[in-house]
């Protein structure tokens, strides 16, 4: 029951931090208010301007130039792909340049009918965000970026709605994201799933079989086709791959066919929704990702001046919205912030603009004026609803448009009176500029404001997280080891935080946003104050005991933790966080080495003080120069282990991936998928991965055997014996299958493609269930008189086993043998806790290896090796002479290092704290096609992203158990007193903790508190940094993603910590059941 109580406290701590984070996020990542008003066909301002309403196609605000439109969206079509560089040779090595020659030919042959633009997207460059921008013309906010998996129907006014309101029939082909954005809006749709990024052809071929026949019919006004192949090809192979050339050539044919089939009343837009980086990814805001391309063509003339040869004009992506709307005679969507592309409105076939420049300019001004009026209406409406736009800027904008408006009226009146003059032309050109600058400034104002923060919520959230931090610190230090019941202060704090949580929930759910959560703030401050007082008065700080905790490693690891928190406040340190954490960890390892040396030295001094041993030592001083003597010194052994540890840690950095901000950084080759490598490196890497996973499984097996946990036929032992190797075998098969070229793989039925991975899942789930149901890996020797050679015993371990049995028999024969007073022989009891945790970690790490894929999986081997070496070093450093290490318990520095290691292995599994570096393809290991829920793929992606932290956070109970094992390596590194050497016979391993159940739980609780405390203090720092830098240029690119990752990291590590806590409790209860069943031991 004690354990359950502790568990509840831990859950309360986690809940505090998580709820604080949620409140913070609510205040920090705000979205823009959505206005659902639709633009009307005949508003006042449009009527006043329409003086030539009887030419051309009927239109709403302006006469339409075209009756029909074809919109071809090629996902991730960069400007670079569209622009034709005639200086390049035909068979140039790059696979993506000059692969769309039909655009170039049209620009050459019909310069007045076609335009090519650089099409600048707004970040974030994810497809759904871009589609929202391309149809509503409004700006995105950070919050929506996460919703790429879960599209919501657009409720804002948009192009599709306006088309429907003017009775246009829209046919849609391609990416099914559109259908979730516009459910039920298309007259006919052929949609295909978009989530499977490995699939290059399904969507495109599906579109191509339907689009031409549908185009030939006449029952449409607008056709939208969204091709995904180029984007998927980028994700899978990167832009410079022969598959990209094929894909682009296919797209070229599409463009040619469509342009040939078009009639005079149709306009074609070919565009990319975003670009792609050099590695083929997107999501961020680098120039490569933002620069998509836009190509406009119509068989009828659309512009009056041809585009110059190497002129590359850039237009914003939102500009497409008003342009298409006015070209088709539709109202501009209500919340649009884009600007019409003026060149496209200079030509009017019904008004003889070819010869008359003033008419051309006037036509452009008319379009711009409607656009400006629409934005002005929008801003006024928005201000009424949300009132977050700055009033002075709004007023100056209003003045600008009023002035322009009166100028237009005056000018037209003057022209009617005096006719067209040169002066009028200049005035029109000035007016055009005035409208353009108005639209531009309005957009900038909105951009500046829509990263709007709610400071009340931000402060409340941060304070709540701080409460979580201070309480976990309190529970870490405030409890002296001798004490069994909770101090009164602890009860007060628990009650207070429960109240705080209750009030916070009440406030968030029922109170309106404008009420400041004063009560919560005050409560949080009180709680923090009380826990700080509690920490100051705790027995640990006040007693002489304090000195024992002020060791070099504890002090320096605290310093490093503080530095690690400060890191979040600087964008350059966040960018290079992988290198910085590595630096910190190496420092801590060296500090541990220093501590070991100090310790060994102090033992040496003490021995030297004893007269008889001192003489011996002085004698051996002569032998000091003997090389062998030097090498067998414990400190030398520790030095060698330390160097190995440092080197292994450094090797882990070869699995780093790059952020785009890291200049002169090259992605690790392990990140590329196996199928994209050439044959020789492919084989090498595959064999390497196979070797690594085999080594991982074998090492754990060897360790378990060494401690005698692999004997007998118990359920747990059987799972440990057969589970991991089988799982590893099928993982290897799965990788081999994935290495096949896509075309070969496609020839298998789908269930065969995923069979191997699903077998692995099955094995691992069965293993986990068995481990949970019988977690104790011990073997009770049947009481028989003859020698028993245990099953599956390694040859090396037979001799000690036999020896033990012999000893038992001898003692039997001495004491007049009878079964009753014989001590039961149990194998593996000395490592009963550690072996279970090790087995759990190794099974989970196999699951993670499957998730990570063949490239990154070797880094898990490094993680395992490092965990082992770290635990050994840690055991040496906590192994003390005076005190029984059972009582002392785990040290602070060990917990800090474990959390640092988990951060390092977040990076060393090929991740970075940015949105585009999430490996979405992990959702497809073992599954195929679309998912009904987002839960499963989300879970798989989470496993992939946080695989490093998961391993290290599941392994934390080993900090308690490992020092008790006193392994051979540890004995080599430690200088022991003679007394200790004599005590060795009574080795009990971590079974010692079984005798003191309360102490075990307390140790577990303290370490868990430490883990949660460290994770939440880092989260607090990341949150403070994001709040402090909320107006920083890099906030959405660096600080906010880092905070989001830190929050996810906290959730991961606390969840794993709690799971491990529960697991150890389960082992403990199973162990007591086992002990109870033992034949009662009679003391002889």
């Amino acid at each position: 029951m004690f354990g359950i109580k502790l568990l509840l406290i831990l859950l309360l701590l986690i809940l505090l931090t998580i709820s604080g984070t949620l409140v913070f996020i609510k205040g920090f990542l705000l979205s823009r208010s959505v206005i659902e008003t639709k633009s009307q066909c005949s508003p006042e301002f449009a009527l006043r301007a329409e003086d030539h309403s009887h030419h051309g196609v009927e239109g709403c605000w302006m006469h339409g130039r075209f009756k029909r439109a074809i919109i071809v969206i090629i996902d991730a079509l960069k400007y670079e792909f569209m622009a034709f560089n005639s200086s390049l040779q035909q068979n140039d090595v790059t696979h993506y340049k000059n692969k769309l020659p039909s655009i170039h030919q049209l620009l050459k042959r019909k310069p007045l009918n076609s335009r090519l633009y650089k099409f600048i997207a707004d970040p974030p460059t994810t497809t759904m965000q871009r589609l929202k921008g391309l149809t509503t013309g409004s700006l995105p906010t950070f919050v929506d970026a996460g919703a790429n998996f879960h599209s919501y129907a657009i409720t804002e006014d948009n192009l599709i709605d306006q088309m429907l309101r003017q009775d246009k029939k829209v046919k849609f082909f391609g990416d099914d994201t559109w259908l979730s954005l516009f459910p039920g809006k298309f007259s006919k749709s052929f949609d295909f799933p978009s989530f499977d990024v490995k699939d290059l052809h399904t969507v495109d071929n599906g579109i191509l079989t339907h689009i031409y026949p549908e185009m030939r019919q006449s029952n449409w006004d607008v056709i939208i086709a969204h091709f995904l192949g180029v984007d998927h090809c980028g994700h899978k192979y990167g832009p410079n791959h022969s598959a990209m050339a094929e894909k682009l050539t296919q797209m070229d044919a599409v463009i040619r066919n469509i342009t040939e089939m078009m009639r005079d009343d149709t306009v074609l837009f070919v565009m990319g929704d975003h670009g792609m980086t050099k590695t083929g990814d997107h999501g961020g805001d680098s120039a490569d990702e933002l620069e998509a391309g836009l190509f406009i063509y119509s068989p009828a003339q659309i512009t009056h001046t041809p585009q110059k040869e190497d002129e590359n004009v850039a237009v914003a992506q939102t500009d497409f919205v008003p342009t298409l709307a006015l070209l088709m005679g539709l109202p501009i969507p209500f919340s649009n912030l884009g600007m019409v592309i003026p060149e496209l409105f200079g030509h009017c076939p019904w008004w003889d603009t070819g010869s008359n420049e003033i008419r051309r300019v006037y036509h452009r001004v008319k379009a711009l004026r409607l656009n400006a009026q629409q934005i002005s209406t929008y801003l006024a409406t928005y201000q009424q609803i949300a009132s977050d736009l700055p009033v002075p800027q709004l007023r100056s904008l209003q003045q600008q448009i009023n002035k322009a408006e009166s100028d237009v009226q005056n000018l037209i009146t003057a022209m009617i009176k005096d006719g067209a003059t040169d002066d009028a032309l200049h005035k029109f050109i000035a007016l055009e500029e005035a409208y353009k600058s108005y639209i531009r400034e309005a957009r900038e104002t909105c951009e500046g404001v829509w990263a709007k923060f709610d400071l009340k919520l931000i402060v409340t959230g941060l304070l709540t997280v701080a409460v979580g931090v201070s309480q976990s610190c309190y529970f870490f230090v405030a409890w002296s080891n001798s004490d069994d019941s909770f101090p009164t202060l602890a009860k007060f704090l628990i009650g207070g935080s429960a109240l705080h949580l209750f009030y916070l929930t009440l406030h968030m759910l029922f109170f309106p946003e404008t009420v400041p959560p004063l009560m919560a703030v005050i409560l949080a401050l009180v709680l923090i104050f009380v826990s700080v007082v509690g920490i100051k008065n705790s027995p640990l700080i006040n007693n002489i005991e304090m000195r024992r905790y002020l060791t070099i490693d504890n002090i320096i690891s605290s310093l490093i933790l503080i530095m690690n928190c400060c890191l979040f406040f600087s964008n350059s340190f966040i960018v290079y966080e992988n290198a910085v954490t590595m630096f910190f960890m190496q420092t801590l390892i060296v500090v541990v080495f220093l501590k070991i040396i100090f310790k060994n030295f102090s033992v040496q001094r003490k021995e030297a003080l004893k007269p008889d041993i001192g003489r011996q030592m002085r004698k051996s001083k002569a032998a000091n120069y003997d090389l062998l003597h030097v090498i067998t010194q414990p400190s030398t052994a520790a030095f060698i282990v330390i160097i190995i540890c440092c080197i292994v840690l450094r090797i882990a950095s070869s699995f780093y991936s790059c952020r785009e901000e890291q200049h002169s950084c090259e992605d690790s080759t392990f990140i590329l998928p196996l199928s994209s490598l050439d044959e020789r490196t492919r084989n090498q890497r595959y064999l390497f991965s196979v070797f690594c996973i085999a080594a991982m499984v074998t090492a754990v097996r060897y360790w378990l055997k060494h401690y005698g946990n692999m004997n007998g036929m118990g359920a747990g032992v059987t799972a440990a014996y057969y589970g991991p190797p089988l799982a590893a075998l099928f993982i290897v098969f799965h990788w081999a299958l994935q290495a096949l070229p896509q075309s070969v793989l496609d020839s298998f039925p789908r269930w065969q493609q995923v069979l191997m991975a699903q077998i692995v899942y099955a094995i691992i789930i069965v293993c986990l269930i068995v481990i949970l149901s019988s977690p104790v890996l011990v073997y009770l020797l049947p009481t028989r008189t003859d020698f028993q050679i245990p099953y599956q015993a390694h040859f090396k371990h037979i001799v000690p086993t036999l020896y033990n049995q012999l000893k038992v028999q001898l003692s039997e024969s001495e004491g007049g043998s009878s079964d009753a007073n014989k001590a039961p022989v149990v194998y593996g009891l000395g490592s009963v806790y550690s072996s279970s945790v090790v087995l759990l970690v190794s099974v989970v790490s196999l699951l993670l290896a499957l998730m990570l894929g063949d490239g990154i999986a070797p880094s898990l081997l490094l993680a395992t090796v490092l965990l082992y070496l770290f635990l050994e070093l840690y055991s040496v450093s906590v192994n003390s002479q005076e005190l029984d290490s059972v009582n002392e318990g785990p040290t602070w520095s060990g917990i800090v290092m474990l959390s640092l290691l988990s951060t390092i292995f977040f990076f060393a599994t090929g991740h970075q704290a940015t949105i585009p570096s999430i490996r979405f393809e992990a959702a497809y290991t073992g599954f195929y096609g679309d998912f009904n829920t987002l839960l499963l793929p989300g879970f798989l992606i989470w496993l992939n992203t946080f695989s490093g932290p998961i391993i290290f956070n599941l392994a934390w109970p080993l900090l308690i158990f490992w020092p008790l094992l006193s392994s051979a390596l540890m004995k080599m590194m430690v200088k022991r007193t003679f007394q200790q050497k004599q005590n060795e016979g009574s080795w009990k391993g971590d079974f010692r903790l079984y005798d003191n159940a309360t102490l075990l739980r307390k140790h577990l609780f303290r370490v868990c508190c430490g883990m949660i405390g460290i994770a939440s203090v880092k989260l607090l720092a990341a949150g403070c940094a994001a709040a402090l830098h909320r107006r920083h240029l890099m906030v959405w690119k660096i600080f906010a993603p880092r905070f989001i990752y830190e929050a996810a990291f906290f959730t991961t590590s606390s969840a794993c910590a709690i799971l491990a806590f529960l697991f150890v409790l389960r082992v403990d209860s199973a162990l007591s059941a086992f002990i109870r069943k033992l034949p009662t031991k009679k003391q002889s």
Partner: protein, 221 residues
């Protein structure tokens, strides 16, 4: 052994002077724009620092030899010298490996890393080897036990630790986006190490007379 008052005073003054000189050297290395500028030619700069360190060691040794020749523990035995050389080479190799482990590029600037390792060896290990010989017991005495002796032990203790700390701190500005030429590896670390060494000298110059007066209950001046 009781050190003489004059010895302590001279040592303190010499350390103070050396500290100023080394500080000046760092300033010149950073500020000048000729062939010895550390930013344009790091290897040359490091070589100058190494020479300065060696010279300082030698001068200290002479001082030591003049004032307290008896306390030279093991004398000039060939075995000891050979062992010292081995130790120094080993130390240099270890520093190189550790620098790489801490994040220095493996191949790209190997020469620079090696020079940095040599510099650290000269600043951290050479003084100790020169004065106290290749003995682990002495090492413990100087660095962990902090023996009650004052004298060169104190200087060596301060300079070694602060040189190490300085080079550790020198790595901090490397990731920052200030676009300064001295942010290149290993320039800031070299400057940190030598700067730390000079600070250590300054500290020992202040610490020596104070410690001496508290130990022997006698006042200077």
């Amino acid at each position: 052994m009781r050190s003489s008052k004059r010895y302590i005073l001279t040592l303190s003054l010499a350390s103070f002077l050396a500290s100023l000189l080394i500080g000046l050297l760092i300033y010149l290395l950073i500020k000048n724009e000729g062939p010895f500028s550390i930013t344009s030619n790091p290897v040359n700069g490091v070589k100058i620092c190494i020479t300065a360190g060696c010279v300082h060691c030698l001068l200290n040794f002479i001082l030591f030899y003049v004032y307290a020749p008896n306390s030279l523990e093991s004398g000039f035995r060939i075995v000891n010298i050979a062992k010292c050389c081995c130790l120094l080479v080993l130390a240099c190799f270890t520093f190189h490996v550790i620098a790489i482990c801490f994040g220095a590029p493996l191949i790209k600037s190997a020469t620079e890393t090696l020079h940095f390792a040599i510099l650290l060896t000269v600043l951290v290990c050479l003084p100790f080897c020169l004065f106290f010989g290749p003995s682990i017991e002495n090492w413990f005495e100087v660095f962990i036990d902090k023996s009650s002796h004052v004298g060169l032990e104190t200087v060596v203790y301060f300079t070694s630790l602060s040189a190490l700390l300085g080079s550790w701190l020198g790595a901090i500005p490397i990731p920052l986006d200030w676009d300064q030429p001295w942010q290149e590896w290993p320039i800031s670390c070299v400057v940190g190490a030598v700067g730390g060494y000079s600070v250590g000298l300054l500290l020992s110059a202040v610490y020596l007379p104070r410690k001496y007066s508290t130990l022997h209950k006698s006042k200077f001046f």
